[in-house]
């Protein structure tokens, strides 16, 4: 227990942790603030103004249309060739219709909490996961690098317990931060929704769905933190985790994409990691194979492949467990010099 408290203290004392936390909070605050300016509440006045504007637009274009038709007919009367300039029949068939001037087009953007907040959960998760990755990797990486780990092991010679306790301290901190910042993030967007957007139709079911999205986001953040920690501990250097992440990204997002493209594998994206990240947040990712379509025969439903969030859970779970097992195994076996 004392070691756990010590490690919590060490983590929060670190400059990098504090710096990254400040950056994270600033970043999230900037996104929320900037976004709040782009949303405008659709008050009756705004709706009425939009309606009035569409009406005016409709009127203007009918007048314009009439003017050209008149012009055209005048020209025809003079025996001029009008087809090229005014189209067939002087464009009489193209009279503007009122439904072409939907007032919706004149409405400003309004944030819809129920429909759009899930996307902002993903944004939040991305930012906090990045934080977890950097802080998690450097928490153990710097410790190896500066000999702090060795020092600690002279005090607590149980290697696995030390590595595990440090990880627990990291995950506890990240979890606490995710919960606190997540609550603030939700509150901020709820505020934007009530003051500058809409929070309509937020039934208990909608809240539950958002709650589950939040849980999945937190799970992903913790997994990213744990994997970064495991990689940095395996390589005994912070840069190791960063390098592995870059390599994984390059292989998965570029290498595999190119490979499946060249080989013509259908639904090649199911081998790409970001597909699983997407389905993790959106509950499923749909992949389409347009090669199955023969457009000559008209409209076509392309073949579909669905990646579910459960599949994502399996993929990420296996990855995390593999990294952690390797890190703990190496901790047990390898000399500390």
């Amino acid at each position: 227990m004392s070691l756990f408290v010590t490690e919590l203290r060490r983590l929060t004392k670190r400059r990098l942790t504090r710096l990254m936390l400040v950056l994270l909070v600033l970043g999230l605050a900037t996104v929320a603030t900037a976004f709040s300016f782009s949303s405008h509440k659709l008050s009756p006045e705004v709706v009425a103004a939009a309606q009035a504007e569409s009406d005016a637009q409709y009127k203007r274009s009918v007048q314009e249309w009439q003017r050209t038709v008149t012009e055209c007919e005048a020209a025809q009367a003079k025996g001029e060739q009008t087809e090229e300039r005014y189209g067939q029949n002087c464009g009489k068939d193209y009279q503007p219709q009122p439904e072409m001037f939907d007032p919706k087009w004149n409405l400003p953007y309004q944030f819809d909490f129920r429909a759009e907040f899930p996307m902002f959960i993903a944004v939040f998760a991305g930012a906090v996961a990045l934080f977890a990755f950097i802080v998690g990797a450097s928490f153990v990486g710097a410790e190896w690098n500066t000999g702090g780990m060795m020092n600690l092991l002279l005090w607590r010679p149980k290697r696995l317990a030390v590595l595990g306790t440090k990880l627990a301290a990291l995950l506890t901190t990240v979890l606490g931060l995710s919960v606190v910042l997540g609550a603030l993030w939700t509150a901020a967007f709820w505020l934007i929704g009530t003051s500058r957007g809409t929070t309509a139709k937020m039934t208990a079911g909608a809240w539950r769905s958002i709650g589950l999205d939040g849980l999945r986001a937190v799970a992903l953040i913790l997994v990213v933190g744990a994997v970064a920690y495991a990689l940095a501990s395996l390589g005994r250097h912070t840069a190791m985790a960063l390098g592995a992440a870059v390599a994984l990204f390059a292989i998965s997002e570029i290498g595999i994409r190119i490979a499946v493209g060249v080989l013509g594998v259908s639904f090649g994206e199911r081998y790409v990691l970001s597909t699983y990240a997407q389905s993790w947040f959106m509950k499923q990712a749909e992949l389409f194979d347009y090669d199955t379509c023969q457009f000559a025969k008209g409209a076509c439903e392309p073949a579909k492949y669905v990646v579910t969030w459960e599949q994502s859970a399996v993929v990420f779970g296996i990855g995390a467990v593999a990294a952690l097992v390797a890190a703990f195994w190496a901790m047990r076996r390898r000399d500390i010099a």
Partner: protein, 333 residues
């Protein structure tokens, strides 16, 4: 007397695909009695740090037996860790923490009262600088912090790998005093160092290691006595006659241990008068003939065969290799 530290037949082999096999420890033995200050000596790369790391559970040995305070290692390490304070080869600390934070975190991990931190900071002379970041410390200050971290536990066994590394003369002398005080208070200290004058002053006993094996051990005076070798320094009236004299003495069966520019060092001389007679017969006249008290440094150089030879650049790992059986005969080796 009971042994605080026992090592028998310890082996550590490093394997690498490129450079093959290196026996860093090759059946090494060591024994340290309670309440002693024990010097652990050996040339660079002889295996001192490897021994201490293995003892502290940082390295897995390939064979042999170790015990601290009567408890078998590495099995009992968690149980004895609280009684062993150690620094291993200029330890590093997290550079952005202050000395007080660094020690505070260690004390917390070891469930020690916070006041110990200030006590040891005072002891090593860092009291007034304890609030500064370790990054800004000088080499000697870092070394003092390391010693402080080892003392924090108030251990029964204190293991210091080159603690004097980077200390100023005053610091070295303080370290000497500290070691003595700690030993008097009942602590056992194992000290690895290359400053042999220092070791000779503060240690009760020594172990000398070369190429992963013990070449000598025992109380300092006994090791010295066993290797005093009745050394004699000879000066002649004419320095130019020295080569001739060396030749003459060697022919008469007297070992010339070293030929310096202005004198000769002879070893195993029972009767100095004999030397004088042999040289006089050749018309060489002695201006000085002094028995030399050996110091630990010369014994070390001889035992490990690492004395510099003019015109040669000795490489590391070029040192005495003893047979496995050679260490069995007590301090004489």
């Amino acid at each position: 007397m009971s042994a605080v530290l026992e090592i028998e037949g310890l082996r550590k082999t490093y394997r690498s695909r490129k450079r093959g096999v290196r026996h860093a420890l090759d059946g090494f033995d060591m024994r340290v009695e309670a309440g002693q200050v024990h010097g652990f000596l050996g040339p660079n790369g002889s295996g001192k740090t490897t021994t201490l790391r293995t003892l502290l559970g940082l390295i897995r040995p390939n064979g042999g037996r170790m015990a601290i305070l009567g408890q078998e290692l590495p099995r009992a390490l968690p149980a004895v860790a609280g009684q062993v304070g150690a620094i291993v080869e200029s330890p590093q600390f997290f550079p952005h923490f202050t000395a007080r934070d660094t020690l505070g975190l260690l004390a917390q991990a070891g469930e020690l009262p916070r006041r110990r931190v200030d006590e040891v900071l005072e002891q090593v002379g860092l009291r007034d600088r304890a609030g500064e970041r370790v990054k800004t410390y000088s080499l000697g200050m870092k070394q003092r912090l390391a010693v402080a971290s080892a003392l924090l536990k108030d251990p029964k066994l204190l293991i210091l790998d080159e603690p004097a590394n980077g200390l100023d003369p005053g610091g070295i002398r303080e370290m000497r005093r500290l070691m003595r005080e700690l030993a008097e208070s009942g602590m056992t200290v194992v000290l690895s160092s290359h400053i042999l004058g220092e070791i000779q002053l503060i240690c009760d006993s020594v172990t000398i290691i070369s190429l992963g094996r013990r070449v000598a051990f025992g109380p300092v005076d006994q090791v010295l006595a066993a290797h005093s070798q009745n050394s004699v320094r000879v000066r002649l009236e004419a320095v130019t006659d020295l080569p001739h004299a060396a030749e003459t003495l060697t022919r008469s069966g007297i070992r010339v241990a070293a030929a310096e520019p202005d004198h000769l060092m002879l070893a195993d001389v029972d009767k100095p008068a004999e030397v004088s007679r042999i040289l006089a017969e050749q018309g060489l006249y002695v201006s000085e003939l002094t028995p030399v008290a050996v110091d630990l440094e010369s014994v070390f150089l001889e035992l490990t065969a690492t004395a510099p030879v003019p015109g040669q650049n000795r490489q590391v790992d070029q040192s005495a290799k003893v047979d496995q059986t050679g260490t069995a005969g007590g301090w004489g080796a």
